[in-house]
């Protein structure tokens, strides 16, 4: 587990970049359901799969981030791009929040592919 920092230090609607083996982008988005939390934290590989750009610098719109360079959009929940120019999903990573602190589960998975995702999540 990689400590990311205090949840309160990530404003809702913003992202931070974490330097792991590969850079990871951690996003805090306004919660969509009423489970008591005001936000949900997601983590994906920071580097766009299209061409080199940091997704943490991208535009967050709901559960999607738009790459700051060529506007490729990725779903933070699945890592899937919603169309060109990206062709390949970004990896998603597990995030846990304990006592107001955010932790990342170190990636050990192989890069995600469309085939490896649950069927209902394939666009």
């Amino acid at each position: 587990m990689i400590p990311v920092g205090a949840l309160a230090d990530i404003p809702i609607g913003e992202a931070i970049r974490v330097e792991a083996d590969v850079p990871i982008a951690v996003f805090r988005v306004a919660a969509e359901d009423s489970d008591g939390a005001d936000s949900t934290v997601y983590a994906i590989d920071d580097t766009c799969t299209h061409q080199k750009a940091s997704l943490a610098d991208g535009w967050l719109d709901g559960c999607k981030v738009e790459c700051p360079l060529h506007s490729a959009c990725f779903d933070l929940r699945t890592g899937l791009p919603d169309g060109p120019p990206a062709k390949v999903p970004v990896r998603t990573h597990r995030v846990v929040v304990v006592d107001g602190m955010v932790y990342l589960q170190v990636p050990t998975s192989v890069p995600a592919t469309v085939e490896s995702l649950p069927e209902e999540e394939v666009a």
Binding site: D57, W59, L69, H70, K87
Partner: protein, 394 residues
């Protein structure tokens, strides 16, 4: 009722047109003509990662398996040589006539060359074959002279420098990039060359390239000779519209593109034009303006497809606020909006010397364009803000 469409040009604008037509429900016959033999590929990496050898050929491919569903009749390696508007036919070299209900012209642009014959070792970079040929000559210690300090020239200079090539850039203007960025920001960008050990000569033209068989030097108009093993000519691009001669389509006398309205329609019914070869009406320009931006080629086809299918909508924010980027050395340059001489430029964030800043261009006090060097996050906010202003009801 449109039941068949021929798209001429199989690069980003042509492929995006095919995708947009299918996305918008067109289920008729779709033919794509491309003069290069290669499957469609992305061009921006040709001066960057592909030239550097850090991106493989396959990474350039525009198509994925999802595009199989487009059911396109591909005519790759076929050159269009004429358009018969009355018969709605595209004429191919070899004599074939492709007849369809509508034609979308997406033939792009080609690199401008020096006049007359040139010796071996003189390159332009527009196609993947061009980039492959140049890459083979960018060996450590080679002496490269770049003719032209625009975006292509600067990107190739930066890639070549990282490969250990000895680079000189020659720019005819006093300040490189003064056209697109203005002199102030152009000067800052030009500083990247010196930061990285590349010599930049400005305000001097090239007389000719010297060498028998193989290039040996570049002679400048002031008499200086720059020894060269390799030369790249980066002096702009010309729209590929000569094949339309005699078709009756209006060509913009300024930019040389096919004239269209803001919805990509030419003045001939059923004939549209998109991408680098088109000069669509742009409100902010008060007339036709041809752009060679990647994002324009990616996004404009959605507008063309809607027009072709009889549902023209409002032009997209990308039409109103054009965007481009450039990667030079370790810096990322981004620009959005429309700049003209006389606009006031203000650095609103960061530090020019640190090569990390954001500048806003204002006209009559109103922001009209934004430039960022290594500052993507606030740039994205400004770009959206400009798009919101440009598309707001008047």
């Amino acid at each position: 009722m449109t039941t068949s469409v021929t798209v001429v040009g199989a690069s980003l604008a042509g492929v995006s047109t095919a995708r947009a037509l299918r996305e918008q429900g067109f289920d008729g016959r779709l033919t794509l003509v491309g003069d290069e033999p290669h499957p469609p590929y992305d061009r921006p990496p040709l001066s960057k990662d592909y030239l550097a050898g850090t991106a493989e050929r396959a990474e350039l491919d525009l198509l994925t398996s999802a595009d199989d569903a487009l059911e396109v009749d591909w005519r790759l390696g076929c050159t269009a040589v004429g358009l018969d508007t009355a018969g709605r036919a595209v004429l191919l070299a070899g004599g074939e006539r492709l007849v369809s209900d509508a034609v979308v012209i997406a033939t792009g642009a080609r690199a401008r060359r020096l006049p007359g014959p040139t010796p071996a070792g003189v390159h332009t970079v527009r196609t993947v074959d061009d980039a492959t040929a140049l890459r083979a000559e960018l060996v450590p210690g080679a002496r490269l002279v770049l003719i032209g300090g625009g975006f292509i020239g600067a990107e190739i200079a930066s890639t070549a420098r990282a490969l250990g090539v000895d680079v000189v850039v020659v720019e005819a203007l006093a300040t490189p990039l003064a056209g697109p960025l203005g002199a102030d920001i152009g000067r800052v960008c030009a500083g990247l060359h010196a930061d990285n050990g590349v010599r930049l000569l400005t305000g001097v033209g090239v007389e000719r390239v010297l060498g028998d068989g193989r290039v040996r030097a570049v002679r400048l108009v002031d008499g200086r000779e720059l020894p060269a093993d390799v030369v790249v000519v980066g002096i702009g691009a010309t729209p590929c519209v000569d094949w339309l001669a005699g078709s009756g389509l209006a060509i913009d006398p300024v930019g040389g593109g096919v004239r269209t309205d803001a919805h990509c329609a030419t003045d001939v019914a059923g004939v549209l034009a998109v991408g680098d070869c088109a000069s669509p009406y742009r409100r902010y320009a008060g007339g036709g303006l041809r752009l060679e931006h990647w994002t324009n080629a990616l996004k404009q086809p959605a507008t063309a497809a809607a027009t072709l299918l009889g549902r023209p909508g409002a032009p997209s924010p990308d039409h109103e606020v054009p965007y481009f980027w450039s990667d030079q050395y370790d810096s990322r340059l981004q620009f959005a909006g429309h700049r003209v001489d006389g606009d006031q430029v203000e650095i609103v964030e960061g530090d020019v010397e640190a090569r990390n800043f954001l500048a806003v261009y204002r006209r009559n006090g109103e922001p009209v364009a934004v430039f960022a060097m290594n500052r993507p996050r606030p740039f994205g906010r400004w770009r959206r803000d400009l798009a919101g202003r440009a598309t707001a009801p008047v």
